[in-house]
Symmetry: C2
Subunit: 252 residues, 2 copies
DNA sequence: CGGAACGTTGATAGCTATCAATCGACGTGG
DNA sequence: CCACGTCGATTGATAGCTATCAACGTTCCG
């Protein structure tokens, strides 16, 4: 039955193959040729990582560029005493291993089963601006957006309350999952455990639980069975001051 | 007398001109030609920003690349109710306006008088790897390091106590000021007000004050007259788990 | 059926924020 | 020369948010 589940997923691979094209297409205008390239990449054989497994990046090798086409992963660091902090969520359509200067203590852990494809072709395309202008621009935009989300993350952790942080996170996820087609009626897949939310937002599991119940009681969200529905986007917005990063189409 | 002070600073401009070369030289091996280039840039006419002034970046223009040769600035965001969060400290030798994807709410404020030079020449050099291999590598390394410090910042804010955060910050500053020659006997210039420390570390001014006094009482630091001396680096290290980012010399 | 992972709840402690007031240093204007 | 305002640092009192500890419920799965 487990196998059957996996099989069903693999049958949907055409849908997931669109992730990269959809994500990058939301960041820059892509030509037909470019879209075709991204689809080809998206349909190429994918590596599968089990939930909870670590995605190792051998320190001294050139890290192969990859794109996630399904599943969630997290970049995190761990302190000696076991405290953990997630820096960044990696969602479908996102690149893996983009960041240079990764510190030794940093690891990537899969939060769900993750499927990723080799993105070498895309990386090469980025280098040839003339041939692939849209792809190059989109990848720059993606990097800029990652950076902006990291800034958001900092101010969330530094200056916002638990309730505000959580509202901010939910809106960020809504924003990021939209271009890859995973948002339906303000409802998104939500595979994060409460412990993962805590590691992301710098809170204890217990407090995450209580804050979630506050939001439920306020009729702001519904969270159950791995799905999060935002009932009151305005309230989330007001509480969190989330502002979508402006993608700069005319970026040089 | 104030004027005389400024004059004295300007006379030292040759020293400050070295900032860029020293910083980049610590990140990659530079040829004589490259060092000469960076010195030339460092001695070019500099723009001066007063303490507390904002460095505006007109949103819709290509932002001119600049390098700080003296003074401290901070990249920060502000919430509606006045809460502020500093993302990043900009120190001598650092680039200004590198980050794409800056959100609208983001501002750069000078914490001291800041002198910056136009870095267009350096930016251009980066694009020609063949001609300026060292400069190109160093700039990539610098970007990677900025990124790593941002990660540090996140885990500081998310998972560390006030004491730990502060120890971590001090070691980061020690590390970053070393290549530009501003560290003497574990003592560094320290122009941050306690309020700025709070905005950086996500703490209230009052608590910053009390934590500093704890560190003084522990004979870990001396902080007075704009200068911070670290008496017990081992204690700071143990408390903060700071680990210097590894610069990868063989980075492709 | 037992175990593991996850979620939930209550009680308690503790870290940090907030409010308010004081102090010293500095620069300004009378 | 002195009064005065501002800024930064400091201190005390108090409140409050969040962590920690412990226990229990639920679901899923071997």
């Amino acid at each position: 039955m487990r196998d059957l589940g996996v099989q069903r997923r693999l049958q949907q691979s055409d849908v997931r193959a669109e992730s990269i094209a959809m994500r990058l297409g939301s960041l820059a205008k892509l030509s037909e040729t470019e879209i075709a390239l991204l689809f080809r990449v998206g349909r190429s054989p994918c590596e599968v990582h089990q939930a909870r497994s670590l995605i190792q990046t051998p320190a001294d090798q050139p890290t192969p560029q990859r794109f996630v086409i399904s599943g969630w992963a997290a970049r995190m660091r761990e302190l000696r005493d076991g405290r953990r902090q997630i820096y960044q969520l990696i969602l479908p359509g996102d690149a893996l291993n983009w960041l240079p200067g990764a510190a030794a203590a940093e690891i990537i852990q899969c939060l769900t089963m993750v499927q990723a494809v080799n993105g070498m072709a895309v990386t090469l395309a980025m280098r040839d601006r003339t041939m692939w202008p849209g792809v190059a621009t989109a990848l720059e935009q993606a990097a800029a957006q990652d950076h902006a989300f990291l800034f958001d993350h900092v101010s969330r952790l530094g200056r916002q309350s638990a309730y505000e942080r959580m509202a901010h996170l939910f809106l960020e996820l809504h924003f990021r999952l939209t271009p890859v087609g995973l948002v339906h009626e303000n409802s998104i897949p939500f595979p994060l455990t409460q412990e993962a939310i805590g590691d992301l937002l710098g809170l204890s599991v217990v407090h995450v639980n209580r804050t979630l119940q506050l939001m439920r009681r306020d009729d702001v969200i519904i969270l159950r069975q791995g799905r999060l529905t935002m009932l009151d986007m305005a309230a989330l917005q007001t509480a969190s001051e989330f502002r979508p990063p402006k993608t700069a189409p005319g970026f040089a």
